[in-house]
Each structure stands twice: as structure tokens, then as C-alpha cells.
Symmetry: C2
Subunit: 474 residues, 2 copies
């Protein structure tokens, strides 16, 4: 029995995605072109993500700040590569307080310029370093085609910006933050990722190099999920961020930046979801357990309340659905919304001294004796669901990761069923562009620590420099 | 001994304020005109405020959402009073993706229009109601003169927007939210407020009426601190938000909105701060206790660690200052930053089986025997500081609240020492404007439930309608 509001995933993946977003009330289309509205269910997931990631940032010595929304054109232009990269997609404020502005201001597409300008005024000595700041905010990029959570003009993210006294420390920070992202995706979102280095062509505008984590959606399409950039002294030279080092010499600082966005919600949908809607990993679900009373007699309602208190007092996020809808409707709604565990409390079950527990991932129905320790049962089940989601996604990613030895193999894989393709690469942009002709296949990342396959570029056959993961992207 | 970075509050209040903001590293001036940077200390206070208020909103059935940053001009204009109120101070985006836009978009100065547009598409039946949504975001108003936390082009706030099936329920919501604000100011920020109704002239553009809470700063100047608006059906008629009521008839909804902003940080500074810097109420302080080791021998550091663990494990927010600065420097820094309690751990004290504890509000130094129960001592002290801050502020507000019977009394009070003036008012805008000629004295709010003083308007002498609190405002 499948949800009638939702197109089957195997029939039309794009429509399935849109249907899940709508049916689970994660987001609504707004009358502001290219911008979506985060509805309560969608925003609650974003809040959970923020809560857990923020904890990880703070535990590693980062502090939150807030920079302005607007960037004056001159400030934006100080570092050449960044503005060249972003100029085609920024929005400009030209009128304020009914007057045409002398200098136009763009809505931040990213905030390296603002952080660098600030750092230039506060960093004086090595004793002030490092500064490891982060902000949670929205940014604006004037995209043409948009899709909720994956690509929209305004999107939510966090952007970390750090400044260090040494190259080594900044490079370590770049790696550390990539690892935090990887850990968060795998342990909290239950989404396995491949981590590696972006090619010159795909790196962030203005970075010396960019690390990325890449996830694979259910349909074999890749999603760039988080990036961590090492800037070296590029911005510190453009924005004049100097400090007195331990030898009392003026030196330019070393910088990094790193970010993940509300794309994570898209990844959750497209990695775990099914034809009945969303499936939320317990560690990130705003509601982990929903209790559905069948009927509303006192015995049933008292039992619901008892279970609610038991779980709530033990740090499980739980709700009772006391609305006037029918139990069947409530079950379907809980499924669409992806709530990991549903407990059904009915009079007949209670008379038999049991409860019905349903897990969302497998949709398995279990009858639980009232004599069992419900709390430990539920805790155990939540862990099991978390693990099962990760294992299933991991196996799928492995099944859809292929090796290719020549370009016709790449073509046949991508036309058969897309996925990740591992193949050697000579390092030239020409060969990257030839790969792109195959359904838009792009380099996802360079695997620095894995050996080459044949030692020859999959496109031109010349000596290979890197093992690269390729894929079609969102 | 006072902090040399800070101008004395009694010599130059405005400069004192700026000095505290800078010395406590709450905010920095940015190169974006009219916008400030929230530095870690300032943003951490905002995070604490959000955390506690958000809990209160959620406990009363509100859910968070996120609306777009930009509002198309036509959507903004649908309700006439709101756009008339905000038109002079909005910022317009006219270029996006290198093209001039067909329709310009303003950066939200407030989001009634976006919420109403959304509600019009999702509200169908009385069963969908109420919808009680809130968002935490920044908004933009093109102010000319700006001051950190009090008035800036971009500021942070929350805006709640609710939609109801009945007038009664919406009016109750308007009152309930005002009461939540009042409770939050008094119990968490330790800032006493006066609550009442705005006059027609001072109410929110588009509202049927506006409730406000008004606080009094140390210098006797009033700060409008939070507002709660009842819209009736004004927006639902302009944006066509209709629902089928229980009689199966189409009816326009009833709406409210309410907001508080980062002004709260300004209020904390100007109500509690002194010549040594910030004083944070314990219930909102990001760090409640700071432990300062004197020397760094093992005995001292072990004791610091032991106290740290004891407090941390009992939900007190605590830090050890392990930096390389001198103890004297650390004491001064903890004072400037307003940390409620400082524990000094030195070898000599330890040899005498004691610790030194300093409270920030009174700057009192206490020697505590190691035999005492430190945890309960500190918990008790934090409560006492919270209470003392509130009591002191409350007494000051009472001392600076005057009754006036005629306009010359108003003049003499405002020229002597400003404060709140209670005086009767006939209800005419003319009389309000005449009051404004006295150093900009404005009506703060109407006290609906208090009896008139003389029954005659303080300005014109005609029959009074309302008892009004007047003041000079930020």
C-alpha cells in the first residue's frame, strides 16, 4: 500500500522528490521567484542539524558571530578571483531609503570578504591567533533553475572562516573541518560520503585548494555536500591581514573557510526516502517517536500519557497525536513525515497486555508485551534504525560505484545507471571537459591516498596523475 | 578603581555605551554603513536570548519557519498602510544575475506580507487553525543614524505571525505574547518593564492596535522593547486569507504579529552596566562563572579543574581562563565582559583552605572555606545576583517615574532628569505633538487598567481619556 500523494520513486525520481517535499510539508513554493518557504517540518530538521553541528563546532573551539548581509561593491572586488566567480550570480541593492546609492551593495553570496575585512582590523599579533569564527545565515545566489533544498536563490548554511599564524595550522583546520562534516553526515544523517580534493576547475573561486564530501542519491546522482577551503595568504594579501609573528616580523595570515547548507535536507530525502515519503534518521529527527491512540477512552489515553512521560523523561523526542483525525490517517501522516518509530495504543492490544510498535525504515510491525522494558526497547530500536539506514545507504553507494578503464566504459555505465565512477585522470582540463560531454559527468573529487587503477588517463590514455571519482551532479 | 577604556557613565552616557560595546567586544563597526558586526561575546548573548525565548514560544504551541528574505514590490503593496509606513526605509534589489529585474524586490523590513501570502494558500478550514508560526531572522530598515544593538540598518529579531478563526482567540494571542515578553524581560534579563497600549499615532502600520513593553535605561531614557500587534482582518482582507468556519461559511481570518529584537542586548547594557563594563544577569549570561588560576602550579590547576567539573556537571556555564595573561588582566577582562561570578584560585588561599569569590554586580570579594558546599554556594549566589539586578533596576525605574499635572511640570521633570512621566491625556494627536516639543517626549503607552490622575489632559486641560506613560526614547 503506497501513499497516493507521492509519485513512485522508480517512475519519476524528480517528481517523487517534489511530492515528498510537499506531502511531508517540508517546504512550500513562494511567490518570490527562486525562493522557498521552510515550513515547520522542514525548518525543524534544519534546527536539529544546526543544534548538533553547532555543538561539534564549539567543542573544537569555534565561536559564532554575525556579519552584515550586504557587501559594498568595492569591498567585494578586492580579491579578484572570488568576485569573478560570483559576479554573474549576485543580487544588487541599488536603492535605500528612497535614494539611489552612491555605491551599490550586493547581498552576500558568501562572506570571505566581510570576514577578511574584519580580521584586518582586529588581528595584530600571533597572540590574537587563531580566530576561528562561524556564522549561521542565509546567502543569495541568483540561480536560474531552482529546486527546494538543492538549489535556490536564497539558501541557509553555515560558513566558518578562520585565520591562523601558520600554513600548517590552517591546512590542519581545513582537514579537521572536512572530517567533522564527514562524521556528521555518516553518524547523524546516516549518509555515507566520499571525501577528497576538488580539481583546479571545480575548486572554490579564490581558494588554493578545496576539499569536498560527495554523497550519492538513490538515483545514482551525486550531491556535493560540504566543502572546506584552504586560502593560504590569498585573502590576507588582498585585505591586508598582517600580524607580528614570534620573531617580531610582520607576516600575512593563513586562512580557511568551510560550509554546509540546507542541501543536507535534500540529501536526507534522496538517500533514505521511499514511496511512502520521508524517512528520518533517529539522530536528527525532530520527533523520534509518535504515539497514536486508537480510540480516546481513558485507559488508552492514560497509557499514551504514561508512555509519553517515560520516553520524554529519558531524552527521547516524543509526541502524542491527539488530533481528531482517524488512526489510519495518523499512521499515514507519521509515515509521510518520516518519524522513525510509531507506537499504536489500542484497547484491544491493551487487553492482551501489548502495544504495537512500527518502525519507519522497514515498515515492520511488532507486538510488544507490556511486561517488556519499553524504554530500552525503544532506545535499542532507534539505534537499530540509525544503523540500518546507514548500512543500506552504504551498500547502495558501493553497488553504484564502478571502475572505468576507458571512455566507452564510462559512457555505458552512465547510460545504464549513473553512479560514482572511479577512473584515472591525466590532470588536464580538456579531459575533464570531454568527460562532461557524457551526460554532464564531472569530477567529484581526487582520491589522494588511493593508488591509480591503470596509470593511464581514462580519456586521453596519457600518463595519469590522479585517481578521480566522477559523477553526474545535482 | 575603574576601567580606563571606559568613559564614566555619569560624564557621557552615549560614549560610555559605545565604550562598553567595544571593550566587552560585543560588536564592531563594519565597513558596511549602518551595519554592525556581532562579535563572539555579543552573539553569544543573542544565542542565549534565542534559546530561552524559543523554548517559551514552543511551550506555548508556536513553530518556527523561514520566509524568503526578499519581497516583490507588488506583494509588499497589497496592504496600503504597511507599505506607507515602511516605504521610506526599505532597501531595493533592482539587479540580479547581471540583469535589471522586471519587478524590484525589497529586503524584508518585516514579513507580514510574506506570511499573509503563504497563509492565503494553505488555510482552507477552521480545522487548519490556528497557525502559530515564528521566524528568527534579520530585517533591513534604511536608518540614518545608527547605534549598535539599538538602531541599525540590519538587525536581528524574531517575528511571530499567527492566524486564527476568531477575533477572541487572536486578541488573546496578542495579550499572551506581550505577557511572555514581559516575563522574559523581568525574569531572564532582570529588566522591569511597563506594559500597555500604543496610541494611534505610535501603533504599528497596518495594526488595529499595538501592545508594547517599555523599559527605562539608567539615564532615564525609554526603550521600546517589544511589541505585539492585533491586525483583525486587515491583512486577511488584503491578502485574501479565507477559511470555512464551523457553519460552513467563508470567513476572513484574524491575525497577530509580535517581535523582539537585538535591542534587548542594548537594554541589558544600559540597565545593568557600570563604569567597569557589562553586567550580565546570570540567567542569560553565556558564561556564568569564570575560574581564574593565580599561578599555574599543579595544585592550583588541579583545583581549578575540580571546580570546573563540579560546576559544569551541575548545569552551570563555567570556563577556566588558562590564557597567558596576568591574573590582574584576567580579572579586569572578566569584569568588562560582565561575567556574574569570578572564582580566584591561588596557592596562598589554598594553603589557608579557602577560595576567593567575587560577584560582578556589587564587586564584593568573599573568602570561601574549602569546607563549604561550593556548588550550593555558587547556585545561591547566582540567584542572588539575578534578584539583586532586578530589584536595583526596579527601584531605579520607580524612582524615575513621576506624575505630572500640567505641562510645566513635564518640562521641569524632563529638563531635570528624564524618566517615565504618568499623565492624563485627552486622546488628541495635537496634544501628543505638543508633548513632543519637550525634548522629544513621546507617549510610551496607555495604561488601560489604571485610574486617571486628575481627569484632565496634561496638555490642553480638556477631559482626559487615558492615563499615559510618557518618555524620551531611543
Amino acid at each position: 500500500m503506497k501513499n497516493k500523494m507521492i509519485t513512485s520513486r522508480d517512475i519519476d525520481f524528480a517528481q517523487w522528490y517534489t511530492d515528498v517535499v510537499t506531502a511531508a510539508r517540508l517546504a512550500a513554493y513562494s511567490n518570490v521567484k527562486g525562493c522557498v518557504i521552510f515550513e515547520p517540518n522542514g525548518y525543524a530538521i534544519w534546527e536539529r542539524i544546526k543544534e548538533e553541528l553547532d555543538k561539534m563546532f564549539k567543542e573544537t573551539g569555534h565561536q559564532n558571530v554575525a556579519m552584515p548581509l550586504l557587501i559594498p561593491e568595492n569591498l567585494m572586488k578586492k580579491e579578484g578571483e572570488l568576485i569573478n566567480g560570483f559576479a554573474p550570480e549576485v543580487a544588487w541593492v541599488t536603492i535605500g531609503g528612497q535614494k539611489t546609492l552612491e555605491e551599490r551593495l550586493c547581498i552576500r553570496p558568501t562572506s570571505e570578504t566581510l570576514f577578511s575585512d574584519y580580521y584586518s582590523s582586529v588581528v595584530k599579533s600571533y597572540r590574537d591567533l587563531p580566530l576561528k569564527y562561524n556564522q549561521w545565515c542565509s546567502v543569495m545566489r541568483w540561480e536560474k533553475e531552482t529546486r527546494p533544498f538543492l538549489r535556490s536563490r536564497e539558501f541557509f548554511w553555515q560558513e566558518g572562516h578562520t585565520v591562523h599564524a601558520t600554513k600548517e595550522e590552517a591546512e590542519q583546520e581545513t582537514k579537521d573541518m572536512l572530517n567533522i562534516y564527514k562524521k556528521f553526515f555518516e553518524e547523524y544523517l546516516a549518509v555515507p560520503v566520499i571525501a577528497g580534493l576538488k580539481t583546479e576547475k571545480e575548486k572554490f573561486a579564490g581558494a588554493e585548494y578545496t576539499y569536498t564530501i560527495e554523497a550519492l542519491m538513490h538515483n545514482g546522482v551525486a550531491l556535493q555536500s560540504g566543502t572546506s577551503h584552504y586560502f593560504g595568504q590569498k585573502f590576507s594579501k588582498a585585505y591586508d591581514i598582517k600580524f607580528l609573528n614570534q620573531n617580531n616580523e610582520l607576516e600575512y595570515c593563513y586562512q580557511t573557510s568551510w560550509g554546509v547548507s540546507n542541501r543536507m535536507i535534500g540529501a536526507i530525502i534522496m538517500v533514505h526516502g521511499d514511496d511512502n515519503g520521508l524517512i528520518l534518521p533517529p539522530k536528527i529527527a525532530p520527533t523520534q517517536v509518535i504515539i497514536v491512540p486508537i480510540g480516546n477512552c481513558d485507559v488508552v489515553m492514560d497509557k499514551c500519557e504514561e508512555i509519553y512521560q517515560l520516553l520524554k523523561n529519558n531524552h527521547i523526542s516524543v509526541k502524542i497525536d491527539k488530533s481528531e483525525k482517524s488512526p489510519g490517517f495518523k499512521f499515514a501522516e507519521a509515515e509521510v513525515n518520516g518519524i522513525p518509530v510509531r507506537i499504536e495504543v489500542g484497547l484491544r492490544d491493551l487487553e492482551n497486555n501489548c502495544l504495537t510498535v512500527v518502525r519507519r525504515d522497514t515498515r515492520e510491525k511488532m507486538s510488544i508485551s507490556l511486561k517488556e522494558n519499553l524504554l530500552s526497547y525503544i532506545n535499542h530500536l532507534l539505534c537499530e534504525i540509525q544503523t540500518n539506514l546507514y548500512k543500506t545507504a552504504k551498500k547502495r553507494m558501493e553497488d553504484l560505484t564502478f571502475e572505468a578503464h576507458n571512455i566507452s566504459e564510462v559512457e555505458s555505465i552512465m547510460k545504464n545507471h549513473p553512479g560514482f565512477i572511479k577512473a584515472d585522470w591525466c590532470g588536464s582540463e580538456e579531459c575533464e571537459l570531454k568527460m562532461k560531454e557524457i551526460n554532464g559527468t564531472k569530477s567529484r573529487c581526487i582520491l589522494e591516498h588511493e593508488p591509480l587503477i591503470d596509470g593511464k588517463c581514462v580519456v586521453c590514455g596519457k600518463t595519469a596523475k590522479h585517481l578521480v571519482v566522477w559523477g553526474i551532479q545535482y
